[in-house]
């Protein structure tokens, strides 16, 4: 198996990871960004960003494409949409294996792995991905024109995406596990006043039903424990984000919510391992705060390497 050595490896290519990559590569460090998801991370889901200083208004996707271009032009290598299959952060020389067939080592690592949409965990979820289960209304909404769909979740994403889906679909049933919503009052009001939207509360989907495509779901009432079935043409899942810390949960100190603990210099509990962005414990998660984290982590990583 080929082993390639870098001065620095950044895990994650969202706003924090790309910023760290830009600073590291500009300091002439041989830098690799390894990314398991989409370059830009959750930023690419934002249609219009108007509060990023210096940019009047741009889509999150456009901002991320520019960040990616900057990182590459300063010399960053990027491995994207790959799976991290092995990882050793404890040694002085850090090791990361991807897709079971490529190994990279480095002297310093920055963990900027962000968050990922929480899966529902219902039976047949993987089988029907793209065949009636979607995680992106703007991507797949038009496939459900004049059809009946379910939106799962009770936060801002679920309610806002449900309202946006009403452009295409005939009806939407929002299935939510609690009897109240976690969304803002405005999002709740917009969803409630839309004629196409109805609600099934205190209920969870336990199974997707169908042959080739989703034709219905099995729902369990959380209060009574009773099961029922509901016919549907598709299900859009928005049940929140969880920090991407599975790969290093046994070696990096985490909060109760599985976020990475760092000091003000973005230093984790392991020497030579820093963290930045949404994966880190913090209250405010914005592109600006991710960029700030990425800068601080990179500059401290550079200082660590010089010493």
């Amino acid at each position: 198996m080929n082993v390639k050595h870098y001065d620095a490896i950044v895990l994650g290519a969202g706003a924090a990871g790309l910023t760290a990559g830009i600073y590291l590569a500009r300091a002439n460090l041989k830098t690799l960004i390894i990314n398991e998801g989409s370059i830009g991370g959750q930023m690419v889901l934002t249609h219009a960003v108007a509060n990023y200083p210096g940019v009047l208004e741009a889509s999150g996707r456009d901002i991320s494409l520019i960040m990616k271009k900057q990182a590459k032009e300063f010399g960053c290598d990027i491995e994207s949409n790959v799976e991290i299959t092995k990882l050793d952060l404890n040694s002085n020389k850090k090791m990361i294996e991807i897709d079971d067939d490529e190994v990279f080592t480095s002297d310093v690592v920055i963990l900027a792995t962000g968050g990922k949409p929480r899966k529902l965990g219902a039976k047949n979820e993987d089988k029907f991905k793209g065949f009636g289960i979607s995680y992106c209304a703007t991507c797949d909404g038009d496939f459900y024109t004049d059809k009946d769909v379910i939106v799962v979740g009770g936060g801002n994403s679920a309610l806002e995406e449900a309202v946006s889906l009403t452009k295409w679909v005939r009806s939407i049933t929002i299935v939510h596990q609690f009897d109240n919503f976690q969304a803002t009052d405005h999002a709740i009001e917009q969803a409630k006043k839309n004629d196409k939207i109805s609600f099934i509360l205190e209920s969870e989907i336990t199974e997707y039903l169908g042959e080739q495509q989703v034709e219905g779901v099995k729902i369990q009432n959380q209060k009574t424990g009773e099961f029922s079935e509901l016919k549907t043409d598709g299900v859009f899942v928005y049940v929140g984000y969880i920090p991407n810390t599975d790969n290093f949960k046994d070696i990096i100190d985490l909060s109760e919510r599985q976020e990475i603990l760092t000091d003000a210099n973005m230093q984790t509990n392991i020497k030579g391992v820093f963290s930045a962005g949404d994966v880190r414990i913090k209250k405010i998660r914005q592109i600006t705060t991710a960029v700030s984290d990425g800068t601080i982590a990179a500059l401290n990583a550079i200082e660590y390497l010089q010493n």
Binding site: I39, V44, I78, I133, C136, D140
Partner: protein, 113 residues
């Protein structure tokens, strides 16, 4: 036109020529959304590794994209992107929604090279 670094297929004629004149072709038909961008990233990355495979994209909403939107191998697809693998002009595999690098490499190794 999609904002990727891949070659874009811009007409039905070009599509026919691409799949007829190349032994191995991968085409991703999508938009610039969060499910499509990671697939383009992988394709850009694999272009160097698989010199005997041609990598293209096609804009899902362009008029000529009906050749892939309505392709027989995409029956039942309801998630972007639609990704196709052609060998000697024939679609040997097609997938719907996002696939990661490992899944894409497995298909290429199994069906194209």
């Amino acid at each position: 036109m999609l904002g990727t670094n891949l070659e874009h297929i811009k007409s039905v004629e070009e599509f026919n020529e691409v799949i007829e004149s190349n032994e191995n072709v991968m085409i991703c038909c999508g938009r610039m959304g969060p499910m499509c961008l990671p697939v383009y990233d992988v394709m850009e990355n694999l272009e160097e590794k698989y010199e005997n495979v041609k990598f293209y994209d096609m804009e899902f909403d362009a008029p000529h994209a009906h050749v892939l939107r309505n392709h027989e191998s995409a029956s039942g697809f309801m998630g972007l992107p639609f990704t196709f693998y052609f060998k000697n002009g024939k679609a040997v595999k097609a997938t719907t929604s996002i696939q990661n690098k490992k899944q894409i490499k497995t298909i290429i190794e199994e069906h194209l090279v």
